[in-house]
């Protein structure tokens, strides 16, 4: 039971696919790898539903015995007031309270529980659905005194993962490929995008990050006919503000798509918060694919079942 829900505590599984022709966002974790790690630490399938906890954590009363694990941001997690480590399986006794404190690093932590979240799937996913509101997936959004029932599986031998600094968290240079409307930018605007250090404005959420500063002297070209957008797409508003679309982004839009962040760098973006800085570095589609293949190999090597 959620004694306190925290700033934003949502259920996320692998995402909602198969409805992109109907305007349904794909959703899923903002930092997929951390969610996969948390699930692996408790022996769940990698796309199992878990909690995505953002910046200010909830206080959770656990009724029943279970195994949990945390991966992603460091929110100073506690069990009955005692600090608990991340990246390892933790046994939780009935009547315990899981709490969180100061945000030390990152933005979102994933809490996996060994077993199965007993909440209904909507459009084949347990992820909280944006736009359609809390009416559609009410059980995927933590509220004060709300519950999530879990069908607990038999405990596993505790697992632990040691991360080195080069791994998923904390990268601030994010690699991009030129988008379909890149050529609509003047060369000074292109140079500004590639050389400037941008930061996340306060208008950042799971749908997208509005970045600052705006690109100076940007002149909007003719209106585009609405077309597809995906997580990682960077659009430019009429004022020249770059917006990075994230997991809950709508499926279509009419602003110029100047760039796409490569897949291998999306998880690190999911751990940024307002005020954090980003540099955009151009890369090639070949290098992007190699980075994704490397990432996939890392996951296979470290999260063996």
């Amino acid at each position: 039971m959620f004694v306190k829900p925290g700033l934003q505590t949502l259920v996320q599984d692998g995402g909602r696919f198969g409805f992109s022709a109907f305007g349904v966002p794909t959703s899923g974790p903002m930092d997929r790898t951390s969610a996969q790690i948390a699930n692996w630490l408790v022996g769940n399938p990698s796309n199992a539903a878990c909690l995505e906890i953002t910046m200010t954590g909830p206080k959770i009363l656990v009724t029943g015995e279970c195994q949990i694990a945390l991966a992603g941001a460091d929110l100073s997690a506690t069990l009955d007031g005692q600090s608990i480590p991340m990246y390892q399986t933790i046994h939780v006794k009935t009547g315990s309270q899981v709490g969180f404190g100061r945000l030390v690093k990152g933005c979102r932590v994933y809490l996996a529980v060994r077993g199965n979240f007993l909440i209904p799937s909507v459009l084949k996913s347990k992820s909280a659905m944006p736009f359609a509101g809390e009416n559609t997936t009410p059980e995927s959004v933590a509220k004060k005194a709300s519950h999530i029932s879990i069908q607990v599986s038999d405990p596993i031998e505790p697992r632990r993962l040691t991360l080195t600094d080069s791994e998923p968290l904390g990268r601030v240079t994010t690699r991009y490929l030129k988008g379909p409307e890149w050529q609509q930018l003047s060369s000074p605007s292109q140079a500004f995008f590639s050389n400037e250090t941008f930061y996340l404005s306060r208008q950042c959420n799971r749908m997208g990050y509005r970045m600052l500063p705006e690109i100076p002297g940007y002149e909007k070209s003719e209106e585009l006919i609405s077309s597809g957008i995906i997580p990682g797409t960077v659009q430019l508003t009429n004022a020249g503000q770059p917006v990075i679309l994230m997991a809950d982004a709508q499926t279509t839009g009419g602003y110029p798509r100047i760039a796409n962040i490569i897949r291998a760098d999306l998880d690190a973006l999911g751990q940024l918060k307002p005020g954090d800085k980003i540099n955009f570095a151009h890369t090639s589609i070949k290098a992007a694919r190699d980075a994704w293949i490397d990432h996939h190999r890392w996951v296979q090597d470290h999260l063996k079942t």
């Binding site: 696919f17 198969g18 409805f19 992109s20 022709a21 109907f22 305007g23 349904v24 966002p25 909507v122 459009l123 659905m129 736009f131 359609a132 509101g133 559609t136 490929l177 030129k178 988008g179 379909p180 585009l224 006919i225 609405s226 077309s227 597809g228 957008i229 995906i230 990682g232 797409t233 709508q250 499926t251 279509t252 839009g253 798509r257 796409n260 962040i261 490569i262 897949r263 291998a264 589609i285 070949k286 992007a288 694919r289 994704w292 293949i293 996939h296």
Partner: protein, 236 residues
């Protein structure tokens, strides 16, 4: 027609940039062809007015491989163009509690209330695209006399099922949402029923005609629709 790289796992198939039923047929047919090739490394597509975003699995396909397969599919496209759409008759109540912007529109378009509704009812609209919100239908094309701008100050809350006008299009809000379309009525039908096998009322490619209903008919149809017994003409 161009194939543009779109991120490290996507290709944007950009047809001639025009809102046109034949071009939209190509978009929807290509989406169907890709769907029929399940297991070939393509993950999903986003059909829009005159473009198709194609997402593939970069662990399976390289960008040149994905592009080559797509090019092959596009070559044969014209030989089996088809429109998967149905012809649907959709009830709309244009009465005052629902027609939030009719007063403003009368002034801007210099048409009477009755004339605006009559013109809205005369055309058959194509669902060109569903986007912006889950189930939001972009339909065209409006009678030229009805073309209008979006509201200068968008509403913070447009009620679910509101029927609106913007530019040369008409559309329906599936859920309550902020929005800037000029609202002229409301349909009693739910556009999004999350628990049903077919959760969305409309599909891209559908042909839609509206008919006018009274406030009491609105209530009656709304009840029947929620109970699952309303039969929408043309719906399969």
């Amino acid at each position: 027609m161009e194939l543009l790289p779109f991120g490290d796992a996507g290709i944007l198939v950009q047809f001639e940039q025009r809102i046109d039923p034949v071009i939209n047929d190509k978009v929807l047919t290509l989406a169907e062809v890709i769907k029929a090739h399940a297991g070939s490394g393509f993950s999903y597509t986003i059909p829009a007015f005159c473009s198709l975003t194609v997402i593939y699995d970069p662990l399976v396909l390289s960008a040149p491989q994905a592009k080559a397969i797509l090019s092959g599919m596009i070559k044969d496209l014209d030989s089996h163009l088809n429109n998967p759409g149905r012809s649907l008759w959709v009830p709309v109540c244009y009465e005052t509690p629902f027609a939030l912007d009719l007063d403003d529109l009368e002034r801007w378009l210099d048409l009477s209330f009755g004339e605006i509704i009559r013109l809205h009812l005369t055309a058959t609209y194509r669902v060109y695209m569903i986007g912006f919100l889950p189930g939001f239908t972009y339909m065209g094309t409006l009678h030229p006399a009805l073309r209008c701008r979006r509201k200068a100050n968008p509403r913070l809350k447009v009620p679910a099922q509101s029927v609106g006008l913007a530019g040369q299009q008409t559309g329906i809000y599936p859920v309550e949402s902020p929005g800037g379309w000029q609202i002229i009525g409301r349909t009693p039908l739910l556009l999004f029923k999350p628990q049903q096998a077919q959760p969305f009322l409309f599909r891209p490619g559908d042909q839609v005609r509206f008919y006018s209903i009274s406030g009491s008919e609105f209530e009656q149809i709304e009840k029947e629709d929620q109970a699952g017994i309303f039969k929408l003409e043309g719906y399969d």
